[in-house]
């Protein structure tokens, strides 16, 4: 009776005289009712059972969603601890040197900091949120650039953005490119050859747009 793989009980082994068991009906449902099996599709009892199985699946998911809704919100202490834990693993990326005037001193900025700079610059455009940001190119000019000699290397910055449809998308994208470019010029010595902006998403504003000067 407990042997695996067998459905037990006579009622489950032949639904409505179709010759199909409850398990076979479930498999049919998981397959998206394809390829069509006329014996099942034309049998009222099978159809009722399929609907019922489908509903029970949906209901199971709803149950978890309802549990989630009924649960108290996220414990802020727990969240703070979690963020402290993950914050220890910083995505610093490559070190990018600044030209140093003193041979004993090495100045670097991490790739992660530059990504953050790019992100902040993009975000500062009203109605724009930056998604990914990647920096392609030779960041350290090749070899050990610790001797105060930064080669003329160029980089390409690519970012994806989500926009609020408050202004034409091209205007927003252009504003992002300009803002990112000027921030990179201001804070780094990188030679930016291109800034590629891809609009990947649209979001709604839940709060008023921050007035920014």
């Amino acid at each position: 009776m407990n042997s695996d793989g067998d459905t037990d009980g006579d009622t489950d082994s032949d639904i409505g005289g179709s010759g199909y068991s409850l398990e076979q009906l479930a498999d049919y449902l998981y397959r998206g009712r394809t390829p069509p099996i006329p014996e099942i599709d034309e049998n009222a009892e099978c159809q009722a059972m399929l609907d019922s199985l489908e509903r029970l699946g949906t209901l199971s998911s709803e149950l978890v969603s309802k549990d989630a809704l009924d649960a108290p919100g996220v414990d802020e202490t727990w969240l703070a601890t979690l963020l402290a834990t993950i914050g220890r693993e910083v995505r610093a990326g490559r070190d990018i040197p600044y030209a140093a005037t003193n041979p004993n001193t090495r100045l670097t900025i991490t790739e992660g900091a530059i990504r953050e700079l790019v992100r902040a610059a993009g975000d500062s455009v009203d109605g724009v949120l930056v998604g990914t940001c990647s920096i392609e190119g030779d960041l350290d000019g090749g070899g050990d650039a610790g001797e105060g000699d930064v080669a003329e290397s160029t980089i390409t910055v690519s970012l994806t953005i989500s926009v609020v449809l408050s202004a034409p998308v091209t205007t927003l994208a252009q504003a992002v490119r300009e803002r990112v470019h000027s921030e990179l010029l201001k804070h780094t010595e990188l030679h930016v050859s291109a800034i590629n902006v891809t609009v990947v998403d649209v979001h709604m504003l839940t709060t008023a747009i921050e007035d920014e000067s």
Partner: protein, 220 residues
């Protein structure tokens, strides 16, 4: 906006003993202190894909919002799966920590919720396997579950009724049901997660299905 970083750095170097070699690095966290107040609100309206992408780039604020958005569902799923809120909490925590580390490898950021759920399923089933080394225990229990009339009467809604039926299923059957119907995993995937053969999973699901269908009949 941000102060000029290279100027700040030069100033720092000027103040350092010029004869000693110094390495000064601007670390990633430098700019996070400069996030304007309104950013939080804007980020809360961002899609999962944007938040996941930013998290992959190291934005902890975006990750916090992602966690706040999905943690309740993840926890509810883990509780249904493991039947223990302590195990569920541990599994959710572990899952989110490893998700943070693995986010840069996620290919489709818009599927972050399903991805989180799959990591959580692994963490939760790890706990299940640890606490019960042999799934055979299940076989010794009554495999058929029938609710008494008084238990049926308690349920005031379909959801309550289903909840009661699932709670009364033998653990292995319940786990298979939750992974299949809520997680949407295949027999093979469930088998791997729970350390069973696909045939065992098939058998447990068949029994769980028969019970759930029978007990839920009056709620059709």
């Amino acid at each position: 906006m941000a102060p000029d970083v290279s100027l700040v750095l030069r100033f720092v170097c000027y103040r350092l003993d010029a004869d000693s070699a110094a390495i000064v690095t601007v670390a990633t966290q430098f700019f996070s202190t400069l996030i304007p107040e309104g950013m939080m609100g804007a980020l809360e309206s961002a899609s999962d894909a944007i938040l996941a992408a930013r998290s992959a780039d190291g934005d902890t604020l975006a990750f916090a919002i992602l966690v706040r958005r999905h943690a309740p569902y993840l926890r509810a799923f883990a509780i249904r799966l493991t039947g223990s809120s302590a195990d569920a909490d541990d599994a959710v925590q572990e899952a989110l920590i490893s998700a943070w580390g693995a986010l840069p490898t996620l290919e489709d950021f818009s599927k972050v919720r399903a991805w989180l759920l799959s990591i959580l399923s692994r963490k939760a089933t790890d706990r299940i396997r640890q606490r019960k080394p042999s799934a055979e225990l299940d076989e010794e229990r009554a495999e058929d579950v029938e609710l008494g009339p008084e238990q049926r009467a308690i349920a005031t809604s379909r959801l309550d009724a289903l909840s009661a039926v699932l709670e009364r299923l033998p653990e292995g059957q319940k786990q298979c049901w939750v992974l299949k119907e809520v997680g949407g995993y295949s027999y093979e995937e469930i088998a791997t997660e729970l350390g069973m053969t696909p045939q065992t999973v098939r058998g447990k699901l068949a029994r769980a299905r028969a019970t759930v269908v029978r007990e839920m009949e009056e709620w059709r």
